[in-house]
Amino acid sequence: MPFSINREKCIGCDACRLTCPTQAISGLQYEKHVIDPELCVSCGLCADFCENKAIYDNRGKLAEFCSWEDWGIPEVDAEICTGCSLCVETCPMYVLKINEPEFHGDIRTHAVLTDKDLCIGCEKCAARCPIHAIKIIPRV
């Protein structure tokens, strides 16, 4: 669920905007910032940088940073995956794509994770997969 910024507490230091991995935060320096709920993946990185504790989750609790090592990454089961690309369209970081095998008579298309370092573990892909072909596994 997306986070939001408390307008009264925000001082416009711009730290959150600079650190947001999905560029979901906009706002000029010394002005109130806002989070685009469409882009926010609730990683909490902004909360970690926010000195004024101005960032809250959707239940009104103070947002917490989830450390990078704890972010899971998706593992696609190539046997089940049909390559429907719904996860690719959902991934905010553009790190999923459909494999491109060289054609030799029979091919199976499936999704692959291209760069696990860029993956922010938002788990949107796993939630979106209509046939549960994506599992979230520990990063390290």
Binding site: T82, P101, F103, T109, I131
Partner: protein, 639 residues
């Protein structure tokens, strides 16, 4: 608002004159009766068109609709539909497209978009949730399709300072110059037929971009997920959707069509092409295909990616291969790949463009219209396509389509069109049921809207292709079934699985042979099902669509209701067309197909159209004029 899941609950009417939007009333009752997609669009056109409108007039409507399954993850469910009054046929048309625009239109929160009026300046529209922004085109107008889509993506990214995921719909130069068969393109996929792109052009509308953050609600998530997985596996195991289509795409049909004598050649004079193996799906797969591609949420992946002059681009479909191969007596596959790419970039329907070209070649040969276009001569074709898109020289007249040309220069007997729309690559003289479909189809000579009986007669099963027996009833059944499948937003290929796999994989087995022999006698049985679909008050494992609709929307659904919805949608489209003068008189085929036997020694190899048409109208419960009766309309709850 709606009580059903699967819908976003909003239909938006967009007035280009005033650049304002308002909500269009679309109730739950309408949702039950028409589900979505094409049926929804047909009903909206039926309610709003009077019969006075012209395709390029301001009061023509463009209706872009999605289905309830779009965005839910059901297999092949990412299709959206564009319906409008066609400039090519003068009657309503519907064009179905697998691009990602439908998905993002729903993400923006809308089930459908109705566009009326005309922009004063060249415009593109940005839809982001409730916000509709009209932008002036500037340099965007005049750009080819891919270039314009890349530019739009760049503009979107720049405005948000990040990469924006969005669905883009745009036209190319052909649409801007009002070529009568211009297409609308979304990504690599096209809503190609009958000139929807030209209607966009006439409204000065270059593109629509949709993005948003709504999610499509699903009524029974757990059951739906389970059902999707099962269905996907069924599709992957079926010999057509799990083997032939992924391996060779639709192009794989070229060889089987050659064997059965239904590969249109030399502007439909012949049913076989000697050099077919040079343009077949096998050759395409072995020598040119780089990777399979397809629409979002599709496990079949029938689209191809090929290399043209160093670029990886979309490969041709069967229709393009057939019509730009044997159709114009060309055996150079590399050229077809290049022309297919050029036509896509110009934003033109490949079927109508190549069929018009073939007509012009024959007219040139017969001395009716000297253009320099000749069968087998391929040096001037690329230039001709460009001339058509920019309406230069002979291209200006070629852009009007075969019906217009044959009225002007003569040669109507070999103008291969019905109601103004050019036929696809299946030659109907050795597949007479398909011939009936072409003639009675609502949008004109369309293979899909006509019921696609070629799969029963030649490509899947092998029921006697020359007999008219039972064809009218099967035609109606298949038309209604395919109509219903598309209402949910799904691809028609999912209905292939209606033929159990063993019938296809063992064409000479005892069961298959028996089925093929029995089909011509099944007319009365199918007639009863067509007339009283209510008796099928159950789900059939061969048609999983009904369960999917039930799990996603929460509507009560069964096979009978599903078929009835398809029939209703088909009838309401027919009624809209009736306002524009469609009746039995216009359900015709060119004389070449009805009067001239394909094989001079076998007088049976032509389409006995009048005979089948009569039975077809009876089966549909229509009058002799080919129009639904008042009683029928009331029974179907259309009026």
């Amino acid at each position: 608002m709606t009580t059903y899941s699967g819908y976003m609950g909003k239909v938006i009417l967009l007035d280009l004159n005033t650049q304002t939007t308002c909500e269009y009333p679309w109730t739950d009752k309408d949702r039950e009766l028409y589900i979505g997609g094409k049926g929804m669009a047909s009903k909206i056109l039926f309610d709003n068109l009077t019969g006075e409108e012209q395709a390029f007039s301001e009061d023509n409507l463009i209706v872009i609709t999605t289905g309830p399954l779009t965005g839910t993850g059901a297999p092949c469910s990412n299709r959206f539909n564009i319906s409008t009054l066609s400039p090519l046929t003068g009657i309503t048309t519907s064009s179905n497209c697998g691009g990602n625009f439908g998905h993002y239109l729903k993400k923006a929160g809308y089930d459908a978009l109705i566009i009326k009026g005309k922009c004063k300046e060249h415009t593109w529209i940005e839809i982001k949730n409730d916000k509709f922004t009209f932008h002036e085109c500037g340099e965007l107008w005049g750009m080819k399709v891919t270039e314009s889509q890349e530019e739009l993506q760049r503009i979107m990214d720049e405005s948000r300072n990040c990469r924006v995921k969005c669905g883009i719909l745009s036209i190319g130069p052909a649409g801007e110059n009002l070529v009568k068969y211009a297409a609308v393109i979304s990504g690599e996929r096209a809503a190609g037929r009958a000139g929807v792109g030209a209607v966009f052009g006439s409204k000065n509308l270059k593109a629509i971009v949709a993005t948003g953050n709504h999610e499509v609600p699903v009524d029974n998530v757990a059951m739906n997920d389970k059902h999707n997985l099962k269905w996907t596996n069924t599709l992957r195991k079926h010999p057509l959707t799990g083997n032939q289509l992924p391996k060779m795409g639709t192009a794989g049909l070229v060889s089987s069509m050659q064997v059965r004598g239904i590969l249109s050649s030399r502007n439909y004079a012949l049913g076989q092409y000697d050099d077919f193996d040079m343009v077949s799906g096998e050759t395409l797969a072995e020598d040119y295909n780089i990777v399979n591609k397809g629409c979002m949420s599709c496990p079949i992946k029938c689209a191809r990616t090929v290399n043209v002059k160093g670029h990886n681009v979309k490969g041709p479909e069967l229709e393009t291969l057939g019509l730009l191969g044997g159709g114009i007596m060309n055996n150079n596959l590399e050229k077809i790949l290049q022309w297919n790419y050029e036509l896509d970039e110009l934003g033109m329907d490949t079927i109508s463009a190549s069929s018009t070209l073939a007509w012009a070649m024959e007219a040139n040969e017969k001395g009716l219209w000297k253009t320099g276009l000749e069968f087998g001569k391929i040096t001037n074709i690329s230039k001709t396509f460009n001339d058509i898109a920019f309406r230069r020289g002979i291209g200006d007249e070629l852009a009007e389509g075969t019906r217009w040309l044959s009225k002007k220069y003569g040669g109507e007997e070999f103008a291969i069109q019905s109601k103004g729309l050019e036929l696809a690559a299946y030659e109907p003289r050795r597949s007479v049921g398909q011939g009936l479909g072409y003639a009675v189809s609502n949008r004109g000579g369309c293979h899909l809207n006509g019921g696609y009986l070629v799969i029963v007669e030649n490509l899947g099963l092998h029921a006697d292709p020359q007999t008219p027996h039972a064809k009218a009833d099967f035609c109606m059944f298949m038309q209604d079934l395919m109509e219903a499948v598309s209402l949910g937003g799904q691809c028609l290929f999912t209905s292939y699985a209606v033929f159990p796999g063993f019938l296809i994989s063992k064409p000479n087995g005892i069961i298959t042979t028996t089925v093929n022999k029995v089909i011509p006698f099944l007319g009365p049985v199918v007639r009863v099902l067509n007339k009283f679909p209510e008796i099928a008050s159950f789900h059939l494992w061969l048609i999983p669509h009904t369960k999917s609709l039930h799990y996603v929307t929460g509507m009560r659904m069964n096979l009978g209701k599903f078929l009835r919805t398809g029939e209703r949608s088909y009838n309401v489209e027919r009624m809209t067309n009736a306002k524009f003068g469609v009746s039995a008189k216009l359900d015709t085929l060119p004389k070449r197909l009805t009067d001239v036997p394909q094989d001079p020694k076998n007088p049976k190899t032509k389409v006995p159209l009048e005979k089948m048409k009569k039975v077809y109208y009876e089966a549909r419960g229509w009058s002799k004029d080919g129009l639904p009766t008042e009683k029928k309309l009331k029974k179907m709850k259309i009026v």
